[in-house]
Symmetry: C2
Subunit: 360 residues, 2 copies
């Protein structure tokens, strides 16, 4: 069976996970669960399966060291591609497609997020294998997650007509925006999936679609790869060309326009771990719904979650609170308003506070 | 007019004000409000009025340095009396009465707490002067605070028959225990006062009542003063004698038994500042009821209060929360359950945690 070339997208900022996530060490590199980062979890999953080739890791040049360090730490290997500036996900995927295409036009690539949580790693690998078979027929196959609650924080996918006679793969009927709660319930009733943003395709398929919809992006990305330089073992994309690649998400650039999009159901315990509440909901908690990571005490509260790094943290009587304590910043968050951490970060950014850049 | 000899009781532990209050620097010595401790506020009030002599400060031997330092810091002076061990308030008041008596039997003493907040300091001084006049007739005059809400955290005083024809001084009808909310409302309707624990008396009156009700306490305290030694300008009570003085509060030892107790109404903006909620309720807050002392940000919350020492603290969406952040410990407290901080301290004590002893 043809191996899959994984492409790990590693350039995110993760502002909703402040104060652990900082500009210098964003969400994908912090230990949200256990002893490894979600980036390392993803790398380890790929490393453990013969289905995958050595992954391409696409990240911002600022994160070169941390990526290399985290890869080495778990004994894996990666080809690291550095973006000299942020151009959103479209150019990143275009780079991967271009590199895959130059190896061979029928290379199968799997674009995977580095900051998601997947409880069923074996299931994830199996889905990738299935999706690769569909992708080899010229589809861009996105992983559609079976919803487990009426999430308003995810985009949804309406499945269209079935592809083939076995399995449950469909064409994508439509990508739909994040809904309100009522719409979310209707979507679930109608069999929609969550859009996980992980997708699998043949290099020539994606490269062709990008060339078709985003000519400038395709040309500039090809130029950035051509003029790229190897530095300390990483491919550094050429800044002059890459900086001119259209700044656009792959969703807007291709996925919402192409007629080659397909969706494969993936019941793999997936979460994009977008907020501290999502983290709390994924970990083991006691009979009161409480959990402590690090040095904490909870008294008279339910569904409270303490994450503390070296500072004793006590919660008294506050239900549904999430406390994230680091050496230089403390966040006290109502779990039902976990999205609003972004407002704190915006405020701190306006004040030029160092506590959003790096840890003291 | 005869001057008053103030006696500042300074031996408390203040566990409900953790993590700012620690065993080594309890509540009365921390800057609850503004730049001074409540002990310093009390000292400054006395220092500013010609009504008062140089105060006696009675404290635990462990606090000798901090008391001397805080007195010097505000340019006041004090006679410091050190207890070699904690014997509750009865022996402390007995020591003050004994020392006052040796100066002159008719010395007027005012026993004042060091950890209370009084908004109307001028009113407090005026009440002390009035109370002194009543005390000179042989009464032990306690300051009765006109209740401003149905407090369940204070003991109450039922006023008895009026004393004299002017003013509103009464004999104490009864001291009553901390009530539930329903009883508290009834007490207020019936004109009861809060028992502030500040009282004024002639030395011979109090000394006589202690001798009458607590013979052992009186004898051992006299012995502890006799055998006391001056060390670094402080009177250190003799440990052998003082350790045998009956361990009992002045309320149980005298106030609830004597027929000489009187109560003078004091409408002076008093609070015992027993909890972090009491602090929050005393400070200036914005139109959402929020307040920040130190480095904090509040988003999407009402009646939130942040106290932070050198660590950026953000609250998102949690109403009625009090966050106290220090360099080595963080408390996240529901303001309506502020009493329960004691449970945290008990837990930490059981675990021998250094965070209850002193600041790192």
């Amino acid at each position: 069976m043809q191996k899959i070339l994984p492409v790990i997208m590693c350039g995110g900022a993760g502002t909703r996970m402040w104060p652990e996530s900082r500009e210098a060490t964003p969400k994908q590199f912090i230990q949200l669960f256990g002893e490894r980062s979600t980036f390392q979890d993803t790398m380890a999953m790929l490393d453990a399966s013969p289905l995958f080739e050595t992954p391409l890791v696409i990240t911002n040049a600022d994160y070169a060291k941390i990526v290399a360090g985290q890869v080495t730490e778990i004994g894996a290997s990666a080809e690291i591609i550095l973006e000299p500036m942020r151009r959103d996900s479209g150019p990143a995927v275009a780079v991967a497609a271009e590199i895959g295409f130059r190896r061979s036009p029928d290379t199968i690539l799997a674009v995977l997020a580095s900051d998601h949580s997947v409880l069923d790693r074996a299931g994830m690998v199996a889905i990738c294998a299935e999706a690769a078979a569909v992708a080899s027929q010229g589809f861009i196959v996105t992983l559609g997650i079976k919803p487990t609650f009426a999430a308003t924080g995810y985009g949804y996918i309406r499945p269209g007509e079935r592809i083939g006679h076995k399995g449950q793969v469909s064409r994508v009927g439509a990508f739909v925006e994040k809904p309100d709660a009522e719409k979310a319930r209707a979507y679930i009733a109608d069999g929609y999936f969550w859009n996980s943003g992980n997708f699998i395709f043949r290099a020539d398929t994606m490269r062709g679609e990008i060339a078709r919809f985003e000519t400038v992006m395709a040309e500039k990305v090809a130029g950035a790869v051509d003029a790229g330089k190897i530095e300390s073992g990483c491919l550094v994309l050429d800044a002059a060309s890459f900086g001119e690649a259209t700044k656009k998400s792959i969703d807007f650039a291709v996925m919402e326009r192409t007629d080659k999009a397909a969706v494969i159901p993936a019941d793999i315990g997936w979460s994009d771990v977008g907020t501290w509440s999502a983290v709390r909901d994924l970990i083991e908690r006691d009979e009161s719904g409480n959990a402590v990571r690090g040095d904490g005490v909870i008294i008279g509260a339910t569904n409270a979650y303490i994450r503390s790094q070296g500072i004793l943290t006590a919660v008294v009587g506050v239900d549904n609170v999430i406390v994230v304590a680091t050496s230089d910043a403390v966040l006290v968050l109502d779990a039902r308003q976990a999205d609003r951490v972004k407002e704190v970060v915006d405020r701190l950014k306006a004040d030029n506070r160092p506590e959003i850049i790096s840890h003291r």
